[in-house]
Protein backbone atom coordinates (compact mmCIF):
# COMPACT_ATOMS: atom_id res chain seq x y z
CA UNK A 1 0.00 0.00 0.00
CA UNK A 2 1.45 3.34 -0.95
CA UNK A 3 1.44 6.38 1.27
CA UNK A 4 -1.16 8.21 -0.78
CA UNK A 5 -3.58 5.29 -0.44
CA UNK A 6 -3.24 5.47 3.28
CA UNK A 7 -3.96 9.19 3.41
CA UNK A 8 -7.40 8.83 1.93
CA UNK A 9 -8.19 5.21 1.54
CA UNK A 10 -10.98 4.35 -0.85
CA UNK A 11 -12.51 0.99 -1.64
CA UNK A 12 -12.84 -1.68 1.03
CA UNK A 13 -12.92 0.70 3.97
CA UNK A 14 -15.61 2.81 2.36
CA UNK A 15 -18.19 0.11 3.02
CA UNK A 16 -18.38 1.28 6.62
CA UNK A 17 -17.68 4.85 5.71
CA UNK A 18 -15.54 7.32 7.55
CA UNK A 19 -16.22 8.22 11.11
CA UNK A 20 -14.23 11.39 10.90
CA UNK A 21 -12.91 13.38 7.99
CA UNK A 22 -10.62 16.29 8.65
CA UNK A 23 -10.11 18.55 5.66
CA UNK A 24 -7.27 21.08 5.66
CA UNK A 25 -7.67 21.84 9.35
CA UNK A 26 -5.70 24.84 10.58
CA UNK A 27 -5.53 26.16 14.09
CA UNK A 28 -3.90 29.36 15.19
CA UNK A 29 -3.66 30.25 18.87
CA UNK A 30 -3.38 33.95 19.47
CA UNK A 31 -1.89 35.14 22.69
CA UNK A 32 -1.55 38.88 22.67
CA UNK A 33 0.72 39.71 19.75
CA UNK A 34 2.18 36.26 19.22
CA UNK A 35 0.54 33.63 17.08
CA UNK A 36 1.11 29.91 17.36
CA UNK A 37 0.30 27.88 14.28
CA UNK A 38 -0.51 24.64 16.06
CA UNK A 39 -1.97 23.02 12.93
CA UNK A 40 -1.08 24.11 9.42
CA UNK A 41 -3.53 22.16 7.31
CA UNK A 42 -4.15 18.61 8.43
CA UNK A 43 -6.21 16.35 6.16
CA UNK A 44 -7.10 12.90 7.36
CA UNK A 45 -9.87 10.33 6.98
CA UNK A 46 -10.50 7.98 9.83
CA UNK A 47 -12.25 4.72 9.07
CA UNK A 48 -15.02 3.28 11.13
CA UNK A 49 -13.69 0.78 13.61
CA UNK A 50 -10.03 1.41 13.08
CA UNK A 51 -7.35 1.78 15.70
CA UNK A 52 -5.21 4.75 14.85
CA UNK A 53 -2.22 6.17 16.63
CA UNK A 54 -0.87 9.67 16.26
CA UNK A 55 2.85 10.16 16.67
CA UNK A 56 4.90 13.29 16.80
CA UNK A 57 7.32 15.27 18.88
CA UNK A 58 6.11 17.36 21.79
CA UNK A 59 4.42 20.55 20.67
CA UNK A 60 3.79 19.23 17.16
CA UNK A 61 0.05 19.67 17.49
CA UNK A 62 -1.25 16.24 18.48
CA UNK A 63 -3.47 17.48 21.27
CA UNK A 64 -4.67 20.32 19.10
CA UNK A 65 -5.62 17.85 16.38
CA UNK A 66 -7.48 15.84 18.99
CA UNK A 67 -9.46 18.81 20.16
CA UNK A 68 -10.54 19.53 16.59
CA UNK A 69 -11.40 15.97 15.72
CA UNK A 70 -13.22 15.35 19.00
CA UNK A 71 -15.40 18.44 18.76
CA UNK A 72 -13.78 20.04 21.79
CA UNK A 73 -12.57 23.11 19.93
CA UNK A 74 -13.25 24.71 16.56
CA UNK A 75 -10.60 24.98 13.85
CA UNK A 76 -9.49 28.40 12.67
CA UNK A 77 -10.09 27.18 9.13
CA UNK A 78 -10.85 23.89 7.43
CA UNK A 79 -13.59 21.43 8.20
CA UNK A 80 -14.11 18.46 10.43
CA UNK A 81 -16.89 16.04 9.51
CA UNK A 82 -18.14 13.51 11.96
CA UNK A 83 -20.48 11.04 10.25
CA UNK A 84 -20.78 13.43 7.31
CA UNK A 85 -21.88 16.24 9.62
CA UNK A 86 -19.75 19.38 9.66
CA UNK A 87 -19.26 19.92 13.36
CA UNK A 88 -18.68 23.63 12.89
CA UNK A 89 -22.39 23.87 12.00
CA UNK A 90 -23.60 22.39 15.27
CA UNK A 91 -25.17 24.46 18.01
CA UNK A 92 -24.01 24.08 21.63
CA UNK A 93 -26.77 21.56 22.40
CA UNK A 94 -25.80 19.35 19.48
CA UNK A 95 -22.12 19.64 20.36
CA UNK A 96 -22.86 18.56 23.91
CA UNK A 97 -24.93 15.68 22.55
CA UNK A 98 -22.03 14.64 20.35
CA UNK A 99 -19.51 14.82 23.19
CA UNK A 100 -21.87 12.87 25.36
CA UNK A 101 -22.78 10.01 23.04
CA UNK A 102 -20.58 9.89 19.99
CA UNK A 103 -17.15 10.36 21.50
CA UNK A 104 -15.51 8.98 24.62
CA UNK A 105 -12.53 10.95 25.86
CA UNK A 106 -9.62 9.47 27.74
CA UNK A 107 -6.97 11.75 29.20
CA UNK A 108 -3.33 11.41 30.09
CA UNK A 109 -4.04 12.48 33.66
CA UNK A 110 -7.26 10.40 33.89
CA UNK A 111 -9.37 13.42 34.89
CA UNK A 112 -11.69 11.42 37.06
CA UNK A 113 -13.92 13.62 39.15
CA UNK A 114 -12.29 13.29 42.53
CA UNK A 115 -15.39 13.97 44.59
CA UNK A 116 -17.27 11.07 43.02
CA UNK A 117 -16.85 7.34 43.39
CA UNK A 118 -15.80 5.24 40.40
CA UNK A 119 -19.38 4.20 39.86
CA UNK A 120 -20.60 7.80 39.91
CA UNK A 121 -17.86 8.78 37.49
CA UNK A 122 -19.15 6.17 35.07
CA UNK A 123 -22.83 7.00 35.57
CA UNK A 124 -22.27 10.76 35.16
CA UNK A 125 -22.23 10.76 31.33
CA UNK A 126 -25.29 8.50 31.42
CA UNK A 127 -27.12 11.06 33.58
CA UNK A 128 -26.09 13.69 31.07
CA UNK A 129 -27.64 11.52 28.38
CA UNK A 130 -30.87 11.45 30.37
CA UNK A 131 -30.74 7.83 31.48
CA UNK A 132 -32.54 7.07 34.73
CA UNK A 133 -30.40 6.34 37.77
CA UNK A 134 -31.19 2.67 38.26
CA UNK A 135 -30.56 1.78 34.65
CA UNK A 136 -27.36 3.81 34.62
CA UNK A 137 -26.14 2.03 37.73
CA UNK A 138 -26.75 -1.38 36.19
CA UNK A 139 -25.00 -0.45 32.99
CA UNK A 140 -22.08 1.19 34.77
CA UNK A 141 -21.53 -1.89 36.91
CA UNK A 142 -21.50 -3.97 33.74
CA UNK A 143 -18.87 -1.77 32.14
CA UNK A 144 -16.77 -1.66 35.31
CA UNK A 145 -16.90 -5.43 35.38
CA UNK A 146 -15.70 -5.44 31.80
CA UNK A 147 -12.61 -3.40 32.74
CA UNK A 148 -12.09 -5.58 35.80
CA UNK A 149 -13.00 -3.08 38.51
CA UNK A 150 -16.46 -4.10 39.63
CA UNK A 151 -15.34 -4.73 43.21
CA UNK A 152 -13.82 -1.25 43.33
CA UNK A 153 -16.95 0.51 42.14
CA UNK A 154 -17.57 2.44 45.35
CA UNK A 155 -13.99 3.58 45.89
CA UNK A 156 -12.90 7.15 45.30
CA UNK A 157 -10.35 7.74 42.52
CA UNK A 158 -7.76 8.90 45.06
CA UNK A 159 -7.79 5.43 46.61
CA UNK A 160 -6.76 3.74 43.39
CA UNK A 161 -3.58 3.20 41.39
CA UNK A 162 -2.92 5.03 38.14
CA UNK A 163 -3.70 1.97 36.03
CA UNK A 164 -6.97 1.41 37.84
CA UNK A 165 -7.92 5.06 37.48
CA UNK A 166 -7.25 4.92 33.77
CA UNK A 167 -9.45 1.84 33.49
CA UNK A 168 -12.24 3.71 35.28
CA UNK A 169 -11.69 6.55 32.82
CA UNK A 170 -12.04 4.08 29.95
CA UNK A 171 -15.22 2.71 31.51
CA UNK A 172 -16.52 6.27 31.75
CA UNK A 173 -15.61 6.94 28.12
CA UNK A 174 -17.61 3.85 27.15
CA UNK A 175 -20.63 4.87 29.24
CA UNK A 176 -22.84 5.99 26.38
CA UNK A 177 -21.49 3.45 23.89
CA UNK A 178 -19.62 5.94 21.74
CA UNK A 179 -18.54 5.34 18.17
CA UNK A 180 -15.16 6.85 18.82
CA UNK A 181 -12.68 6.65 21.68
CA UNK A 182 -10.24 9.55 21.75
CA UNK A 183 -7.25 9.01 23.99
CA UNK A 184 -4.52 11.61 24.37
CA UNK A 185 -1.43 9.81 25.66
CA UNK A 186 -3.49 7.39 27.75
CA UNK A 187 -0.38 5.58 28.96
CA UNK A 188 1.70 8.70 29.47
CA UNK A 189 1.35 8.63 33.25
CA UNK A 190 1.59 4.87 33.64
CA UNK A 191 4.50 2.48 33.99
CA UNK A 192 5.26 0.04 31.19
CA UNK A 193 3.31 -2.91 32.55
CA UNK A 194 0.10 -1.05 33.42
CA UNK A 195 0.44 0.76 30.13
CA UNK A 196 0.45 -2.59 28.42
CA UNK A 197 -2.72 -3.62 30.23
CA UNK A 198 -4.43 -0.51 28.93
CA UNK A 199 -3.24 -1.22 25.39
CA UNK A 200 -4.59 -4.76 25.60
CA UNK A 201 -7.88 -3.42 26.87
CA UNK A 202 -8.10 -1.07 23.90
CA UNK A 203 -7.45 -3.91 21.47
CA UNK A 204 -10.12 -6.05 23.09
CA UNK A 205 -12.67 -3.25 23.17
CA UNK A 206 -12.13 -2.59 19.52
CA UNK A 207 -12.71 -6.22 18.67
CA UNK A 208 -15.75 -6.55 20.91
CA UNK A 209 -17.46 -3.23 20.32
CA UNK A 210 -16.14 -2.22 16.95
CA UNK A 211 -15.39 1.19 18.38
CA UNK A 212 -13.01 3.49 16.56
CA UNK A 213 -9.96 4.25 18.66
CA UNK A 214 -7.70 7.25 18.12
CA UNK A 215 -4.74 7.73 20.41
CA UNK A 216 -1.80 10.05 20.61
CA UNK A 217 1.14 8.23 22.03
CA UNK A 218 4.88 7.79 22.28
CA UNK A 219 4.40 4.24 23.45
CA UNK A 220 5.95 1.75 21.05
CA UNK A 221 3.65 -1.08 22.18
CA UNK A 222 0.66 1.08 21.52
CA UNK A 223 1.91 1.93 18.06
CA UNK A 224 2.36 -1.74 17.30
CA UNK A 225 -1.19 -2.57 18.34
CA UNK A 226 -2.69 0.03 16.02
CA UNK A 227 -3.81 -0.28 12.40
CA UNK A 228 -2.42 2.99 11.17
CA UNK A 229 0.08 5.45 12.49
CA UNK A 230 -0.20 9.10 11.63
CA UNK A 231 2.89 11.25 11.98
CA UNK A 232 2.44 14.89 12.84
CA UNK A 233 5.35 17.26 12.70
CA UNK A 234 5.10 20.97 13.25
CA UNK A 235 1.36 21.09 12.62
CA UNK A 236 1.41 19.01 9.44
CA UNK A 237 0.64 15.35 8.83
CA UNK A 238 3.83 14.14 7.24
CA UNK A 239 3.32 10.39 6.97
CA UNK A 240 0.70 7.74 7.45
CA UNK A 241 2.06 4.25 7.88
CA UNK A 242 0.83 0.84 8.91
CA UNK A 243 2.09 -0.79 12.07
CA UNK A 244 3.92 -3.37 9.94
CA UNK A 245 6.11 -0.69 8.50
CA UNK A 246 6.92 0.44 12.00
CA UNK A 247 10.03 -1.59 12.65
CA UNK A 248 12.01 0.41 10.15
CA UNK A 249 10.55 3.71 11.31
CA UNK A 250 11.38 3.02 14.94
CA UNK A 251 15.03 3.30 14.11
CA UNK A 252 14.37 6.80 12.88
CA UNK A 253 12.78 8.06 16.08
CA UNK A 254 15.33 6.71 18.44
Amino acid sequence: MSNSDLFAAEGAADKHGYVIRAVDVKKVYRMGDSETHALRGATLDIHRGEYMSIMGPSGSGKSTFFNMVGGLDKPTSGKVYMDQVDIAQLDPYELAWLRCRKVGYIFQSFNLIQVMSCLENVTLPMSFAGMDDEEAREKALGILERVGLKDRALHKPAEMSGGQQQRVAIARALANTPDILLADEPTGNLDLRTGEEIINLFSQLRKELGVTIITATHDLKMLKASDRIVWIEDGLITRVTTADALDIQVQEIH
Partner: protein, 375 residues
Protein backbone atom coordinates in the same frame (compact mmCIF):
# COMPACT_ATOMS: atom_id res chain seq x y z
CA UNK B 1 -38.82 14.23 19.32
CA UNK B 2 -40.31 10.82 19.58
CA UNK B 3 -38.03 9.55 16.88
CA UNK B 4 -35.05 10.82 18.81
CA UNK B 5 -36.18 9.04 21.96
CA UNK B 6 -36.49 5.84 20.03
CA UNK B 7 -33.05 6.24 18.58
CA UNK B 8 -31.62 6.83 22.01
CA UNK B 9 -33.27 3.71 23.26
CA UNK B 10 -31.79 1.74 20.40
CA UNK B 11 -28.36 3.05 21.16
CA UNK B 12 -28.66 2.18 24.78
CA UNK B 13 -29.76 -1.38 24.24
CA UNK B 14 -27.09 -1.72 21.59
CA UNK B 15 -24.63 -0.50 24.16
CA UNK B 16 -25.39 -2.83 27.00
CA UNK B 17 -25.49 -5.74 24.62
CA UNK B 18 -22.15 -4.61 23.28
CA UNK B 19 -20.49 -4.74 26.64
CA UNK B 20 -21.80 -8.11 27.57
CA UNK B 21 -21.47 -9.91 24.29
CA UNK B 22 -19.46 -9.46 21.16
CA UNK B 23 -21.10 -6.94 18.89
CA UNK B 24 -19.92 -6.95 15.30
CA UNK B 25 -18.80 -3.79 13.55
CA UNK B 26 -22.09 -3.50 11.78
CA UNK B 27 -24.23 -3.14 14.90
CA UNK B 28 -27.05 -0.64 14.62
CA UNK B 29 -25.61 2.07 16.79
CA UNK B 30 -22.55 2.44 14.65
CA UNK B 31 -24.67 3.27 11.63
CA UNK B 32 -26.32 6.28 13.22
CA UNK B 33 -25.15 9.35 11.46
CA UNK B 34 -27.33 12.29 12.45
CA UNK B 35 -26.64 14.35 15.52
CA UNK B 36 -29.22 14.84 18.24
CA UNK B 37 -29.61 17.70 20.65
CA UNK B 38 -28.56 17.40 24.27
CA UNK B 39 -31.42 17.56 26.75
CA UNK B 40 -31.49 19.82 29.76
CA UNK B 41 -31.02 17.78 32.89
CA UNK B 42 -33.58 17.72 35.66
CA UNK B 43 -32.85 20.08 38.54
CA UNK B 44 -32.59 17.07 40.84
CA UNK B 45 -29.42 15.83 39.13
CA UNK B 46 -27.70 19.19 39.37
CA UNK B 47 -28.77 19.46 42.99
CA UNK B 48 -27.36 16.05 43.83
CA UNK B 49 -24.02 16.81 42.22
CA UNK B 50 -23.85 20.21 43.95
CA UNK B 51 -24.55 18.73 47.36
CA UNK B 52 -21.91 16.09 46.74
CA UNK B 53 -19.38 18.77 45.85
CA UNK B 54 -20.15 20.74 49.00
CA UNK B 55 -19.94 17.64 51.17
CA UNK B 56 -16.60 16.56 49.81
CA UNK B 57 -15.07 20.02 49.91
CA UNK B 58 -16.59 20.63 53.31
CA UNK B 59 -13.66 22.61 54.69
CA UNK B 60 -13.70 25.12 51.88
CA UNK B 61 -17.47 25.30 51.89
CA UNK B 62 -17.48 26.01 55.62
CA UNK B 63 -15.08 28.91 55.15
CA UNK B 64 -17.42 30.36 52.54
CA UNK B 65 -20.40 29.70 54.80
CA UNK B 66 -18.73 31.50 57.68
CA UNK B 67 -18.46 34.62 55.54
CA UNK B 68 -22.21 34.58 55.05
CA UNK B 69 -22.76 33.80 58.75
CA UNK B 70 -20.79 36.89 59.78
CA UNK B 71 -22.57 39.22 57.39
CA UNK B 72 -26.05 37.98 58.21
CA UNK B 73 -25.35 37.75 61.96
CA UNK B 74 -24.36 41.41 61.83
CA UNK B 75 -27.54 42.34 59.99
CA UNK B 76 -29.70 40.24 62.29
CA UNK B 77 -28.09 41.46 65.50
CA UNK B 78 -28.74 45.03 64.44
CA UNK B 79 -32.38 44.26 63.77
CA UNK B 80 -32.77 42.29 67.01
CA UNK B 81 -31.02 45.01 69.01
CA UNK B 82 -33.37 47.56 67.54
CA UNK B 83 -36.40 45.44 68.41
CA UNK B 84 -35.18 44.86 71.97
CA UNK B 85 -34.44 48.53 72.48
CA UNK B 86 -37.86 49.53 71.19
CA UNK B 87 -39.55 46.86 73.28
CA UNK B 88 -37.75 47.83 76.46
CA UNK B 89 -38.36 51.52 75.80
CA UNK B 90 -42.09 50.94 75.27
CA UNK B 91 -42.24 48.88 78.42
CA UNK B 92 -40.47 51.58 80.38
CA UNK B 93 -42.71 54.24 79.05
CA UNK B 94 -45.77 52.23 80.02
CA UNK B 95 -44.38 51.85 83.50
CA UNK B 96 -43.83 55.60 83.79
CA UNK B 97 -47.37 56.26 82.68
CA UNK B 98 -48.68 53.71 85.12
CA UNK B 99 -46.72 55.28 87.97
CA UNK B 100 -48.18 58.67 87.19
CA UNK B 101 -51.67 57.27 87.05
CA UNK B 102 -51.21 55.35 90.29
CA UNK B 103 -50.11 58.57 91.97
CA UNK B 104 -53.29 60.20 90.77
CA UNK B 105 -55.39 57.39 92.18
CA UNK B 106 -53.61 57.77 95.51
CA UNK B 107 -54.24 61.48 95.44
CA UNK B 108 -57.97 60.79 95.26
CA UNK B 109 -58.38 58.06 97.82
CA UNK B 110 -55.10 57.87 99.70
CA UNK B 111 -53.26 54.57 100.04
CA UNK B 112 -54.91 51.87 97.96
CA UNK B 113 -54.31 49.25 100.65
CA UNK B 114 -57.54 48.04 102.29
CA UNK B 115 -59.69 50.29 100.11
CA UNK B 116 -62.53 49.27 97.86
CA UNK B 117 -62.01 50.00 94.17
CA UNK B 118 -63.98 49.38 90.99
CA UNK B 119 -62.69 49.11 87.45
CA UNK B 120 -64.55 49.15 84.13
CA UNK B 121 -62.70 48.01 81.02
CA UNK B 122 -64.11 48.88 77.60
CA UNK B 123 -62.36 47.03 74.81
CA UNK B 124 -58.74 45.99 75.40
CA UNK B 125 -56.26 47.41 77.85
CA UNK B 126 -53.38 49.56 76.67
CA UNK B 127 -49.91 48.56 77.89
CA UNK B 128 -49.79 51.33 80.50
CA UNK B 129 -53.28 50.47 81.73
CA UNK B 130 -52.19 46.87 82.21
CA UNK B 131 -49.24 48.15 84.20
CA UNK B 132 -51.52 50.35 86.28
CA UNK B 133 -53.85 47.48 87.07
CA UNK B 134 -51.04 45.22 88.17
CA UNK B 135 -49.65 48.03 90.33
CA UNK B 136 -53.04 48.41 91.99
CA UNK B 137 -53.48 44.66 92.44
CA UNK B 138 -49.99 44.48 93.91
CA UNK B 139 -50.94 47.20 96.45
CA UNK B 140 -53.53 44.76 97.92
CA UNK B 141 -56.80 46.70 98.01
CA UNK B 142 -59.58 45.26 100.23
CA UNK B 143 -61.57 44.55 97.13
CA UNK B 144 -61.17 45.30 93.43
CA UNK B 145 -64.39 44.74 91.53
CA UNK B 146 -64.08 44.59 87.80
CA UNK B 147 -66.31 44.61 84.76
CA UNK B 148 -65.04 43.69 81.31
CA UNK B 149 -61.84 41.99 82.43
CA UNK B 150 -60.80 38.75 84.01
CA UNK B 151 -57.65 38.96 86.01
CA UNK B 152 -56.44 37.44 89.21
CA UNK B 153 -57.27 39.68 92.18
CA UNK B 154 -60.26 41.21 90.41
CA UNK B 155 -63.78 40.21 91.48
CA UNK B 156 -66.20 40.10 88.55
CA UNK B 157 -69.23 42.35 88.86
CA UNK B 158 -72.27 43.52 86.89
CA UNK B 159 -72.86 47.19 86.00
CA UNK B 160 -75.22 47.58 88.96
CA UNK B 161 -73.01 45.92 91.57
CA UNK B 162 -69.74 47.41 90.35
CA UNK B 163 -69.72 50.55 92.42
CA UNK B 164 -71.05 49.19 95.71
CA UNK B 165 -68.84 50.39 98.55
CA UNK B 166 -66.02 51.55 96.27
CA UNK B 167 -64.17 54.80 96.80
CA UNK B 168 -63.15 55.22 93.15
CA UNK B 169 -64.12 53.94 89.71
CA UNK B 170 -61.43 53.54 87.06
CA UNK B 171 -62.58 53.51 83.46
CA UNK B 172 -59.94 51.96 81.21
CA UNK B 173 -59.67 50.45 77.73
CA UNK B 174 -59.56 51.66 74.14
CA UNK B 175 -63.26 51.29 73.25
CA UNK B 176 -66.06 53.82 73.88
CA UNK B 177 -68.04 53.43 77.06
CA UNK B 178 -71.34 54.52 75.57
CA UNK B 179 -73.07 51.26 76.48
CA UNK B 180 -72.96 52.03 80.19
CA UNK B 181 -74.85 54.60 82.24
CA UNK B 182 -72.70 56.42 84.74
CA UNK B 183 -75.59 56.54 87.21
CA UNK B 184 -75.79 52.81 87.32
CA UNK B 185 -72.04 52.34 87.53
CA UNK B 186 -71.57 54.69 90.42
CA UNK B 187 -74.49 53.24 92.38
CA UNK B 188 -73.59 52.69 96.01
CA UNK B 189 -70.11 54.25 95.85
CA UNK B 190 -68.93 55.78 99.10
CA UNK B 191 -67.43 58.61 97.13
CA UNK B 192 -68.42 59.09 93.50
CA UNK B 193 -64.99 59.64 91.91
CA UNK B 194 -64.56 58.45 88.35
CA UNK B 195 -61.04 58.32 86.90
CA UNK B 196 -60.83 57.95 83.15
CA UNK B 197 -57.73 56.99 81.22
CA UNK B 198 -59.07 58.60 78.09
CA UNK B 199 -60.28 62.10 77.34
CA UNK B 200 -63.94 62.90 76.62
CA UNK B 201 -65.63 59.65 77.41
CA UNK B 202 -69.39 59.65 77.02
CA UNK B 203 -71.86 57.46 78.82
CA UNK B 204 -75.44 56.44 78.29
CA UNK B 205 -78.19 57.61 80.55
CA UNK B 206 -78.92 61.08 81.87
CA UNK B 207 -77.18 63.79 79.85
CA UNK B 208 -76.39 66.54 82.37
CA UNK B 209 -74.89 64.20 84.85
CA UNK B 210 -72.05 66.44 85.87
CA UNK B 211 -74.42 69.31 86.56
CA UNK B 212 -76.13 67.13 89.12
CA UNK B 213 -72.73 66.69 90.67
CA UNK B 214 -73.54 63.11 91.38
CA UNK B 215 -70.03 62.14 90.40
CA UNK B 216 -66.58 63.71 90.07
CA UNK B 217 -64.94 62.88 86.77
CA UNK B 218 -61.19 63.22 86.45
CA UNK B 219 -58.88 62.44 83.63
CA UNK B 220 -56.01 60.08 84.10
CA UNK B 221 -54.95 60.91 80.61
CA UNK B 222 -51.38 61.65 79.61
CA UNK B 223 -51.87 60.98 75.93
CA UNK B 224 -50.56 64.24 74.50
CA UNK B 225 -47.34 63.96 76.40
CA UNK B 226 -47.15 60.33 75.41
CA UNK B 227 -47.41 61.18 71.71
CA UNK B 228 -44.72 63.83 71.96
CA UNK B 229 -42.40 61.48 73.69
CA UNK B 230 -43.10 58.86 71.10
CA UNK B 231 -42.30 61.21 68.23
CA UNK B 232 -39.03 62.26 69.84
CA UNK B 233 -38.01 58.68 70.35
CA UNK B 234 -38.96 57.73 66.80
CA UNK B 235 -36.77 60.52 65.50
CA UNK B 236 -33.85 59.40 67.61
CA UNK B 237 -34.37 55.83 66.50
CA UNK B 238 -34.41 56.92 62.88
CA UNK B 239 -31.11 58.71 63.24
CA UNK B 240 -29.54 55.68 64.83
CA UNK B 241 -31.10 53.59 62.09
CA UNK B 242 -29.52 55.63 59.30
CA UNK B 243 -26.17 55.36 61.03
CA UNK B 244 -26.27 51.59 61.32
CA UNK B 245 -27.84 51.09 57.92
CA UNK B 246 -24.77 51.98 55.92
CA UNK B 247 -22.53 49.87 58.16
CA UNK B 248 -24.86 46.95 57.57
CA UNK B 249 -24.91 47.58 53.82
CA UNK B 250 -21.11 47.69 53.72
CA UNK B 251 -20.85 44.50 55.73
CA UNK B 252 -23.23 42.77 53.34
CA UNK B 253 -21.21 43.99 50.37
CA UNK B 254 -18.09 42.57 51.99
CA UNK B 255 -19.95 39.29 52.37
CA UNK B 256 -20.93 39.27 48.70
CA UNK B 257 -17.37 39.98 47.63
CA UNK B 258 -16.05 37.32 49.99
CA UNK B 259 -18.40 34.65 48.68
CA UNK B 260 -17.70 35.70 45.11
CA UNK B 261 -13.98 35.48 45.72
CA UNK B 262 -14.23 32.05 47.34
CA UNK B 263 -16.31 30.76 44.44
CA UNK B 264 -13.91 32.21 41.87
CA UNK B 265 -11.08 30.34 43.55
CA UNK B 266 -13.20 27.24 43.58
CA UNK B 267 -13.79 27.65 39.84
CA UNK B 268 -10.08 27.99 39.02
CA UNK B 269 -9.37 25.03 41.25
CA UNK B 270 -11.94 22.95 39.45
CA UNK B 271 -11.28 24.00 35.86
CA UNK B 272 -10.22 20.49 34.95
CA UNK B 273 -13.28 18.98 36.58
CA UNK B 274 -15.51 21.46 34.77
CA UNK B 275 -13.74 20.80 31.46
CA UNK B 276 -14.14 17.07 32.00
CA UNK B 277 -17.85 17.45 32.68
CA UNK B 278 -18.17 19.37 29.45
CA UNK B 279 -16.31 16.62 27.61
CA UNK B 280 -18.82 14.19 29.06
CA UNK B 281 -21.70 16.18 27.64
CA UNK B 282 -22.61 18.78 30.26
CA UNK B 283 -24.27 21.90 28.88
CA UNK B 284 -22.98 25.32 29.89
CA UNK B 285 -26.29 26.01 31.59
CA UNK B 286 -25.80 22.89 33.70
CA UNK B 287 -22.38 24.05 34.89
CA UNK B 288 -23.84 27.45 35.72
CA UNK B 289 -26.68 25.79 37.60
CA UNK B 290 -24.21 23.70 39.61
CA UNK B 291 -22.49 26.79 40.94
CA UNK B 292 -25.71 28.69 41.55
CA UNK B 293 -27.15 25.80 43.55
CA UNK B 294 -23.94 25.36 45.49
CA UNK B 295 -23.90 29.03 46.32
CA UNK B 296 -27.56 29.21 47.29
CA UNK B 297 -27.10 26.25 49.62
CA UNK B 298 -24.06 27.90 51.16
CA UNK B 299 -26.05 31.12 51.42
CA UNK B 300 -29.06 29.44 53.02
CA UNK B 301 -26.97 27.51 55.54
CA UNK B 302 -24.88 30.57 56.41
CA UNK B 303 -27.97 32.77 56.67
CA UNK B 304 -29.75 30.39 59.04
CA UNK B 305 -26.72 30.20 61.30
CA UNK B 306 -26.26 33.94 61.05
CA UNK B 307 -29.90 34.59 61.97
CA UNK B 308 -29.69 32.36 65.04
CA UNK B 309 -26.40 33.89 66.16
CA UNK B 310 -27.60 37.40 65.37
CA UNK B 311 -30.74 36.88 67.46
CA UNK B 312 -29.15 35.19 70.46
CA UNK B 313 -26.13 37.46 70.96
CA UNK B 314 -28.06 40.75 71.40
CA UNK B 315 -30.60 38.96 73.60
CA UNK B 316 -27.77 37.89 75.89
CA UNK B 317 -26.11 41.29 75.79
CA UNK B 318 -29.29 43.24 76.57
CA UNK B 319 -30.42 40.54 78.97
CA UNK B 320 -27.39 41.20 81.14
CA UNK B 321 -27.70 44.99 80.99
CA UNK B 322 -31.46 45.17 81.65
CA UNK B 323 -32.88 41.89 82.84
CA UNK B 324 -33.84 38.80 80.93
CA UNK B 325 -37.42 39.13 82.18
CA UNK B 326 -37.70 42.68 80.84
CA UNK B 327 -36.03 41.84 77.54
CA UNK B 328 -37.92 38.62 76.86
CA UNK B 329 -41.16 40.08 78.18
CA UNK B 330 -41.06 43.16 76.00
CA UNK B 331 -39.78 41.59 72.78
CA UNK B 332 -42.15 41.77 69.80
CA UNK B 333 -41.79 38.15 68.68
CA UNK B 334 -43.71 38.58 65.46
CA UNK B 335 -41.33 41.26 64.30
CA UNK B 336 -38.37 39.17 65.41
CA UNK B 337 -39.58 36.26 63.25
CA UNK B 338 -40.08 38.60 60.33
CA UNK B 339 -36.59 40.06 60.77
CA UNK B 340 -35.13 36.52 60.87
CA UNK B 341 -36.97 35.39 57.77
CA UNK B 342 -36.03 38.60 55.96
CA UNK B 343 -32.35 38.27 56.87
CA UNK B 344 -32.28 34.64 55.74
CA UNK B 345 -33.81 35.54 52.39
CA UNK B 346 -31.40 38.47 51.97
CA UNK B 347 -28.42 36.23 52.78
CA UNK B 348 -29.47 33.55 50.31
CA UNK B 349 -30.18 36.04 47.55
CA UNK B 350 -26.86 37.79 48.11
CA UNK B 351 -25.03 34.46 47.92
CA UNK B 352 -26.72 33.69 44.62
CA UNK B 353 -25.90 37.19 43.41
CA UNK B 354 -22.27 36.62 44.38
CA UNK B 355 -22.24 33.38 42.38
CA UNK B 356 -23.40 34.84 39.09
CA UNK B 357 -19.99 36.01 37.93
CA UNK B 358 -18.02 32.89 38.97
CA UNK B 359 -20.74 30.64 37.57
CA UNK B 360 -20.59 32.44 34.24
CA UNK B 361 -16.81 32.07 34.12
CA UNK B 362 -17.17 28.37 34.87
CA UNK B 363 -19.85 27.83 32.27
CA UNK B 364 -17.74 29.47 29.56
CA UNK B 365 -14.78 27.21 30.23
CA UNK B 366 -13.70 25.26 27.15
CA UNK B 367 -13.99 21.49 27.28
CA UNK B 368 -10.49 21.34 25.84
CA UNK B 369 -9.13 22.71 29.11
CA UNK B 370 -9.66 19.24 30.55
CA UNK B 371 -7.00 17.87 28.22
CA UNK B 372 -4.21 20.07 29.44
CA UNK B 373 -2.11 17.82 31.58
CA UNK B 374 -0.29 20.50 33.53
CA UNK B 375 -2.13 22.88 35.80
Amino acid sequence: MREKKQRMAERDTGGSAGVATVAPQSSIFNQQSSIGSQVRLPFRTAFRISVQGIRIRLGRSLVTVSGVVLGIAFLMSNLTGQLIKNGVAAKREARQQATLMAAMVRAEIGDVRDKNLAVLVCGTLRPYETELLSTIVAAKPAQLRGLGLTQEGVTPATPSTLGAGAGVLLVLGDAPSGAFALEELTQGMTQKVVLEAEAARTYAGKAALEAEASAVRRELFFGAQHEQQKARMAKEAQQAHARTLWIVVISLLVTVIGVSNALLMSVTERFREIGTMKCLGALSSFIRLLFLIESSLIGAAGSLMGVVAGAILPLLAYGFTYSFVTVLGSLPYGWLMLAGAGSAVVGTLLAVLAAIYPATIASRMLPASALRSTV
